[in-house]
Assembly symmetry: C2
């Protein structure tokens, strides 16, 4: 099927598209209140957008004391694909142009199987969503990968946990397969964009979004824009030294944050505690499943297991210490904690807060909320859809 290919012709149109994306159906009058344009000029640009098909008429709104307004909205047939490739699973979702999730699939998978296998999986999930009637095709796709990305080209570079992906032309390949424009970014940046668009970070211009999953990373938003750094590796905080001469890390150094606290490290610690007989709760879970994950630790903690609580607290202290440094350095207006370990909930958050509030200067922490992400596993796919929509809703 033929998809929309139009792009806004100028900055005004781009602005209007974003207003309609973020605010839903709107009348010309309402749009006029939010944009610095005369009514006549605004009408011209809206008419041009209607001609392109990106925007469609949406009936009459209720009267506000005078003539009823003719609403317009983004074409309800537009479809974006949001893909979030994690270390151990893939999320794929379809959204409309307003970035509302229409369908969402999750599939366990190991990124180390390489781009070819993962792509096959992603494409089959995309096809499944299409087959279920949610989309006749895709107008654009955003995709997040768990490693640094050369952003302009959409190519992963030197990703530690996904070796086979180095230099693989993700953007080009996926664009070819799907037949639509594609943008690629680091998964952590997409989570930040997701929380910025629809989560706790709405209307915050400078914030950090710490994602603790298999690994650990940090999305940086400065002045409303994601900061990616010169080689796309900004936010790679997993290998900051958290413990001098601490545990050996896969990267070759010792004491890296990731070696001391992350989904993987927590699971390993839990197994060790169980085997050493420090926790009956964990031991019984280990016996039952043959292995332990962060979810088990969360459950044990919820059941009041002291060892599990200690593990979480200690990890939170480590992360909190590093975040404290980042807060001093960056002076954000908000810190969001997300990723797989959010199930650890308040215990983790409390430990992080304690460290940050204790170690950073009052001026930086005085009015600094530290909160859990609001969107959970959908943050990444919403961020991915946001990424491609930002791209498509900009002048060509």
């Amino acid at each position: 099927m033929r998809r929309m290919t139009a792009r806004p012709a100028n900055a005004h149109q781009a602005r209007l598209l974003k207003l309609l994306r973020d605010g839903g159906p709107n009348s010309r009058a309402q749009l006029g209140d939010q944009i610095d344009l005369s009514r006549s000029k605004l009408a011209v640009e809206v008419d041009r957008l209607l001609e392109t098909g990106l925007v469609v008429a949406d009936g009459l709104a209720a009267s506000r004391g005078g003539r009823r307004s003719h609403n317009v909205r983004l074409n309800p047939g537009l479809r974006f694909l949001g893909v979030d490739i994690g270390a151990t699973s893939v999320d794929v979702a379809v959204t409309n142009a307003e970035l509302e999730i229409l369908g969402h699939l999750n599939q366990p998978m190991d990124v180390r199987e390489g781009p070819v296998a993962v792509f096959e999986q992603v494409l089959s999930m995309a096809a499944k969503l299409r087959a279920s009637g949610l989309a006749e095709g895709y107008d654009g796709a955003g995709i997040g990968v768990p490693g640094p990305v050369r952003f302009p080209e959409g190519v992963p570079v030197a990703p530690p946990i996904m070796p086979g992906w180095d230099g693989f032309p993700v953007r080009e390949a996926l664009s070819q397969e799907l037949g639509c424009p594609v943008m690629v970014d680091n998964d952590v940046n997409l989570m930040a964009m997701g929380e910025q668009h629809a989560g706790v970070a709405r209307s915050v211009g400078d914030f950090l979004c710490v994602k603790i999953g298999t690994g650990i990373g940090c999305g940086i938003v400065a002045g409303g824009d994601v900061h990616r750094g010169v080689t796309g590796s900004a936010g790679d905080i997993g290998h900051i030294q958290a413990v001098p001469d601490g545990r050996p890390c896969a990267c070759g150094n010792r004491g890296c944050l990731e070696a001391h606290f992350s989904g993987a490290a927590l699971a390993r610690d839990a197994v060790e505690a169980a085997q050493q007989g420090r926790s009956e709760e964990l031991a019984s879970r280990l016996a039952a499943n043959g292995t332990l994950t962060a979810v088990d630790v969360a459950a044990a903690a919820a059941a009041g297991d002291a060892t599990a609580l200690d593990l979480i607290r200690e990890g939170g202290n480590r992360v909190g210490q590093v975040i404290a440094g980042l807060v001093s350095f960056f002076n954000p207006g908000l810190v969001v904690i997300g990723g797989g370990v959010t199930g650890l909930g308040h215990t983790l958050l409390a430990a992080i807060r304690t460290q940050v509030y204790r170690q950073s200067l009052p001026l930086a922490t005085g009015n600094l909320p530290i909160v859990l992400g609001e969107l959970g596993p959908t943050a990444g796919v919403i961020g991915a859809a946001r990424l491609i929509s930002d791209h498509l809703f900009s002048p060509a």
Copy 2:
């Protein structure tokens, strides 16, 4: 005397003024090559700038094979005042509109004497420069203070090392005294802007500028702009924990970077080493002066004193470790080291480089220069002049 009060009327004029500031005298044709405007429009805007007096004719240039061009330049009578208030001294300089330093004064002074005393000093230095014929008056002034600043208002907030300054309306007061527009910023940010304008960071969009003086701070430039954080305290890295359970710090915590390495900490360590008989070189200098500073340590190191070298190396390791974390987080394209301790030179730099290259991931450090600032004590005043010129050369 009446000073220039005109401001650019639009973005084009602002752009032209900045091109003339950064590129010196230029013909209309040369300007046309650097700006996206037709020759006719460009001529109109240049003529308008000539009318305002901000720009003046500057004779004929040599022929390039055809008609000679009429050069224009920024009004050579324009004068900016750059003020850099450090913890222990004040720098004041006059520049022309091209930010070339015409005169520079330095005066020892303790910032803790409070804003009134410091202002008196600054104003007398500004008057001295004026009296020497370098300026008939000032068209604008930039001023840096060693602490966080609420940037839009130009007011220091909760500055740890200058308690009397909290909430003092620096911008308003200085503007009143000098009779010209004033902008205020953190001294470290100004150093970064100075190196960006005329130093090692020319043409680098993302870099860090670490200033090690009495205290320690870091200027952050992201996407060409200074990142100040939500409360103006971004870059305040002096109280990041460098050593777990380390030395007590004035801030109440332990192990802060600043407690382990800074001009003040180094001097204290040197005195201790001298008193414990660990260094004859330092001991003799202590006996001669009654006290030691970073300069003494530098001299001792240059003379081959092993203890002095050790102190520098150890300090460099501490700073390097913290910088390594910041590099992982921010992924800059350049790290500049500046401030009072640059006299420690290569020994310090080598220690920092070792730590950063060892602890940060190759992708972030692969092509990362770590260099000393190029401008020394003039970085701050040039940055200050740049700050006010950026302000005045923007549409009102």
